[in-house]
Symmetry: C2
């Protein structure tokens, strides 16, 4: 799959049969830019250019995040009109800071940004995040050009933004999101990283993921993508050891070829889930006025997905259902699913959902169904879907799942646990936890209901067992997991 | 749409050009049966045949529901081996009760049920619910035949079941669900009624609806449908003034023609949302072993949906999203939706979702966009989707929604409110509540996030404003609402 020009190329440059010196230099510089990108997530010294004493200002909120959050490095407020901010010494300019600065976060008004970039370049800042807006997204092409020129002087310095929320790294504590913590919950640490072209959408999702207790590693809102774009970020996250799964909200890309090549190269290395805005005609037009990028039709996107192995999703629920399963579930050998249920209706609905996917019903071997039949009443249906019926207790479930795990004819398991019936009790959580530790096959649980069911779903989640409210949700997640590993093997 | 034989016909009887006397009598009896069905929901005197002193028994739980729940009528425990149960006088047999009994709930072992039905008939009980199992669903056709014979002697007495959970009526307090309240939350009163062929699925959904605070009117798990079937229940709920929306989980029907005719006659009278199990080949086979009914392919079901106006759903989330919107939202005149957002990405995703439905983007008139433009910064996009941008405050939203409500070019509104941004505050709830009281157009809200966003979504729900986490969910619900009213007008 690897193409000759996929090892780092200037955006937009064509593949050249003979590498001219200027091309090689540009290539090298781009390499340096990419190798400096990690400072946006790992910097141990950060300057906030535009740090403010006014709690209503972005420059205050960003600084406060660094001071009051988990960040353990040095923080330098930069503001010519203040001596101290948040009890810290404030610097009149970047050059007034004697120490090295690895990351600069810029929150000053747009028209002052090009000059600040020049200062960052001179100071040899490694990475820059421009939160400030006021460029092409509001039609100010003159200012955008000016910024572009300033950035081009320091091509080894990666710049995220402008017009973005920037970065949240749950491990390093770097957090440039200028939205108050009471409005935007910060999620816990985890292996899912999320790239969002849309800031507001990204913030809502991050907040939602936090409330769902999903673990996030890195979040990047990259705004106008004047320097660092989605392809750079994708490559960065592919090489980032802490990131296990990558999610992307994308409306359109500036350099389609570059993104396509990156996706084709990397989508089989780690799971890359994509939710694409602007696939419809009207959505595409809306995209043009939102992020100013060309959206491309649903057909084009479908073709890209098929050719690259990107995993498409249609809602944020799907994005994170896929991501959490792909992060931690073992690899299914193939697509044969055993369904085990204590509610016939849910077994039927899961079977229906499964047939709409690339999954298929497993046929368990007799040696493995025998012990289940022995542990079940005569009216239980030990086939697929396997209906243990409404009076199934913990033991009947555990016997069934144990045998499905052992049967080589089964690649993965979807189990429906309805907690409304009195025979199933809380011990099933411990039983499942024991049975599923170090499992070699993916097992997803469907459960639905009120407080009692939800409590058990939470307990299962704490044991690393993924739960879903709807058969179709679990089935789609299993499909995404199976699809990724099948493509990876090819 | 009304057919000549749709006014009450013996199940399975063909349309007869000349009504023979026996046909007329059968027809009359069936009318009586149907007119007695309401006692299963409204009875003021109930006998629990098989009432038990043992808290582990179904006969105990059912009796306890009548005693400790909202039921205000008379309750008669029937058990030959007990003098008192739950501090109430117990009767050795139904005939030992001197007073009238309007409803009998049977919880005794299956083989004793035919005799109990005869006793019910002799006692002139109006309606019967058989909870007991052990009939055709476990292959005991002999017992099923015996029960059939007993029931045929009293054709005017409707029997729900056997092998079911029976009935929950949130208004009368009749509640035969034998699942403990701590496992199965009882939902609050409302206008949504739910018919489920599957007991376990029904119970999980009821529990889930309770936890979501959705209001339920009647719930019926009808099991083997030996007497009362889905078509009877559909007709009953259509005529039930308290039921505003009907939801059905169905795997297959015994009498396809009867159900089809009922659906075609009634699906435009009240919204009837249907989730159909067993549409796939494998799902159909699973259905056969679950409820013993013929499922019919997805193609057949699609044709039925198109010809009747039933509203199909693919998950329980969809069922209740459609139901709650259809219960309370005003009728959209047509399918032109205005999207209003403070997050561009969500506007784009809503537009994409909308294009996959029968909905279309409204084009607001200049007279109505003018005041919105005046209230917005230059970079706001006052088109459709209307992006008020991330710094939109309450007033900007209210001006936009007020004008969209007033514009005759707009039939319905989907508004995205992202609460992560600091400019939108809690007063928007009061503002929207005032603006949307007695609204003449449906308005649905999309919002997503953690605690802060969820709190506001709950506050909006309390004001009768429906909220959704995903653009695609709100769009599908708006589609269902529009579809129903468009068909109704035809």
């Amino acid at each position: 799959m690897e193409t000759s020009d996929s090892k780092g190329i200037v955006p937009g440059a064509d593949h050249a049969p003979f590498h001219k010196p200027t091309f090689i230099i540009a290539n090298l510089v781009h390499h340096m830019m990419k190798s400096n990108l990690h400072y946006a997530f790992t910097a141990k010294s950060v300057a906030v250019i535009g740090a403010s004493r006014n709690p209503g200002k972005i420059g205050y909120v960003v600084l406060e995040n660094f001071v009051k959050g988990n960040f353990r490095g040095k923080v330098f407020p930069v503001n010519p009109n203040a001596d101290t901010i948040l009890n810290m010494k404030s610097y009149p300019s970047l050059s007034a800071i004697k120490e090295n600065v690895e990351l600069a976060v810029i929150t000053i008004p747009g028209e002052m940004v090009p000059k600040a970039i020049e200062e960052c370049g001179k100071k040899k800042v490694k990475s820059v995040i421009i939160i400030s807006a006021g460029f092409s997204e509001v039609g100010n092409q003159v200012l955008a050009k000016k910024l572009q020129k300033a950035m081009e002087k320091y091509p080894q310095m990666p710049v995220i933004g402008p017009n973005c929320l920037g970065v949240l790294d749950t491990r390093s504590g770097i957090d440039t999101l200028f939205l108050p913590r009471y409005r935007l919950m910060r999620p816990k640490k985890g292996g899912i990283s999320f790239i969002s072209q849309s800031g507001a959408l990204g913030s809502a999702i991050l907040d939602w993921a936090g409330s769902k207790d999903y673990g996030i590693n890195k979040f990047i809102s990259y705004g106008n993508a004047m320097s660092v774009d989605e392809a750079d970020l994708l490559e960065f996250l592919i090489n980032d050891r802490e990131t296990k799964v990558i999610c992307i909200y994308l409306e359109g890309v500036r350099n389609g070829k570059k993104f396509f090549q990156a996706a084709r190269k990397y989508a089989h290395v780690k799971p890359v889930i994509i939710i694409k805005g602007g696939q419809s005609d009207a959505g595409g037009k809306a995209t043009a006025s939102h992020t100013g990028s060309l959206a491309g039709s649903a057909k084009v996107f479908d073709a890209v997905v098929t050719q690259t192995g990107l995993i498409p999703a249609e809602s944020m629920r799907e994005v994170f259902d896929y991501a959490r399963v792909l992060e931690t579930e073992p690899h299914p050998k193939s697509n044969r699913v055993q369904i085990i249920t204590n509610g016939g209706g849910y077994g039927v609905l899961t079977t229906d959902a499964l047939e709409g996917s690339a999954l298929t019903l497993a046929r368990m071997g007799e040696a493995f169904t025998k012990p289940i039949i022995a542990a079940s009443p005569s009216y239980a249906v030990i086939r697929n879907p396997m209906d243990l019926t409404g009076d199934a207790d913990n033991d009947r479930f555990l016997v069934a799942i144990r045998n499905a795990l052992a049967d080589p004819n089964v690649d993965s398991i979807i189990t429906i646990l309805l907690f409304q019936v009195p025979t199933l009790d809380s011990d099933i959580v411990e039983g499942l936890s024991e049975l599923l530790t170090k499992r070699k096959k993916p097992v997803l649980i469907v459960s639905a209901g009120g407080e009692y069911a939800k409590m058990h779903m939470k307990l299962l989640e704490k044991e690393g067992i993924h739960t879903f409210e709807e058969p179709v949700d679990a089935t789609q997640a299993m499909h995404a997991l199976t699809y990724f590993h099948q493509r990876k093997r090819k």
